[in-house]
């Protein structure tokens, strides 16, 4: 085999490994948290505090609870998993990779509209005839929305059933929809980009958040520290500031 041939072969053999380098480093001072998208702001503010206290790097993977729970159960690298529903948390529990599961926050559904509320929506009843959006029935925020609409006898049809709550929020902040059903914490995260209308009786259909350490964690103590922080007084304060309610 020629020299060029040999170097090419070597390159072909080494290339696939190069991509894996990041995974094998691991070790001290790094924490990976898989968390439901709606926790983005609350968790990021907690991370600042955690990093300065413990001299660690916190990395987040935010996404749909269903996706993250499945990834965790498949052994995806991660130390902590936080989901926006109990059903998702069941997946890593069944796979035997979840530690003790703690409920740490709740979230209530609200109506958000663009700041000037062009369709003048002040209640669920006024959704009829407006261009409004909610989550699809397949995801937790959609199941909650469906239950609340049913409780209130609302039959208005949405313009779109979004894949997750942030996509729902996005349709409102971009001005495409006159209203959307999202969590109170999403409304807080959107700040001045939306106006919020509370839904009477929505607290009957609370969404609960669960957190656990994962068996694949390379630093179980550090993972537990994060769970402790989330349930501590400081953690509760951050969650409350971000629009969550507390159990």
């Amino acid at each position: 085999m020629s020299l060029v041939g040999r170097s090419l072969t070597a390159l072909v053999l080494v290339l696939p490994l190069a991509g894996c380098g990041g995974d094998t480093e691991g070790g001290g001072g790094e924490l990976t948290v898989l968390a439901a998208a709606s926790l983005t702001d609350a968790y990021e503010s907690l991370a600042g505090q955690f990093e300065s206290d413990d001299d660690v790097d916190v990395t987040f993977s935010f996404g749909s609870s269903t996706d993250l729970a499945e990834q965790a159960a498949d052994g995806a690298p991660g130390d902590v998993l936080a989901t926006a529903d109990e059903t998702s948390m069941q997946v890593p529990e069944d796979a035997g990779v979840a530690g003790e599961v703690t409920a740490f926050a709740t979230n209530v559904l609200v109506i958000v509209t663009p700041p000037d509320n062009p369709a003048g929506i002040e209640s669920l009843d006024e959704l009829d005839g407006a261009t409004w959006v909610r989550c699809a029935d397949e995801v937790p925020c959609g199941r909650v929305a469906q239950a609340i609409l049913q409780d209130n006898g609302v039959t208005a049809e949405p313009a779109s059933l979004e894949d997750d709550v942030r996509a729902t929020l996005d349709k409102v902040t971009s001005g495409e929809a006159d209203a959307g059903l999202v969590y109170a914490s999403d409304a807080v995260a959107a700040g001045d980009d939306v106006a919020t209308v509370e839904i009477p009786g929505a607290e009957e259909q609370l969404t609960s958040y669960f957190v656990t350490t994962l068996a694949q964690s390379e630093d179980a103590d550090l993972a537990q520290d994060w769970v402790d922080l989330v349930t501590s007084e400081a953690g509760r304060q951050s969650l409350e500031d971000a629009g969550f309610t507390l159990p």
Partner: protein, 269 residues
């Protein structure tokens, strides 16, 4: 992959350095699809296939892809002709611009469409005010997203076909007194027809698989904007088996399209 060993190739045996990656490439493309077929719950398949959402989404996908393909032809063929046959100063720039959506992440395409044609978009807002019609959340919005992502494929494929057809025939037609329009109709298009058809099928297939721009611009509602890829994406959130069954349907549709084209692509020795 069949390598003929019966007849000795005068050029020598294919080198391992080329064969190994070629086999690897084939496996890389085939294994995931085989795995998906193997993972499908066949017992539950008939029930999945009869489901209302599937029929609605499949019909909507076929409808929007076909309408988008026709629009791509009506608008894209003249553009391809312009790029291939007419010498104008900005030609390079125009060609570069129309290929941009080809490399754009679909979600960016969706955001761009929304900025232009959304209910509060640059063109969308006046349209809504004048006519009361907004493109987002409608089937026309889906078609628009499809046209946006498919048109570059159609234009590039047809332009290639027009370029490989000898312009001397056009010139000959002109010397015989044909106007440029007649030449286009009677000479240019018939000569490039196989390439035009390939371009249309390519565009149609791209529309059929379109997901990112559609869901960003139009959202997801059964019967109106929920195409097959969107349905699969949403279903995956709650029912993996159903998502696999739906994926299988898409796979079958894709293979049928490829078979229809086998003379062009699969038939080459």
């Amino acid at each position: 992959m069949i390598v003929s060993t019966a007849v000795k190739d005068p050029l020598g045996r294919p080198p391992v350095l080329l064969m190994a990656p070629a086999v690897l490439a084939t496996l890389l493309l085939v294994v995931p699809l085989v795995a998906m077929v193997a993972a499908t719950d066949w017992a539950g398949l008939p029930e999945q296939l009869r489901s209302e959402p599937l029929r609605e989404a499949l019909w909507l996908s076929l409808l929007t892809s076909t309408v988008a393909m026709l629009l791509c032809l009506v608008l894209g063929l003249p553009l391809a002709w312009l790029l291939a046959r007419v010498d104008f100063r900005a030609r390079g720039v125009v060609r570069a611009l129309v290929t941009v959506p080809l490399v754009l992440p679909p979600v960016v395409a969706g955001v761009a469409l929304r900025t232009a044609f959304g209910r509060s978009g640059v063109l969308g807002e006046p349209l809504l005010e004048l006519t009361g019609f907004g493109l987002p959340f409608t089937t026309w919005g889906v078609v628009l997203a499809h046209v946006f992502v498919s048109m570059p494929f159609v234009v590039i494929a047809i332009e290639g076909a027009l370029r490989s057809a000898d312009p001397e025939y056009d010139a000959a037609a002109a010397t015989l007194g044909a106007s440029r329009w007649t030449t286009f109709r009677r000479v240019t298009v018939p000569l490039a027809m196989p390439g035009i058809i390939a371009g249309m099928v390519l565009g149609w297939a791209r529309s059929l698989g379109e997901f990112g721009a559609t869901i960003t611009f139009n959202g997801n509602y059964p019967g109106t904007t929920q195409t097959m890829p969107t349905l699969i994406y949403v279903t995956r959130q709650s029912d993996q088996d159903a998502a696999l069954a739906l994926s299988l349907v898409m796979l079958v549709v894709s293979i049928v399209v490829l078979l229809a084209l086998r003379d062009r692509w699969l038939g080459t020795p």
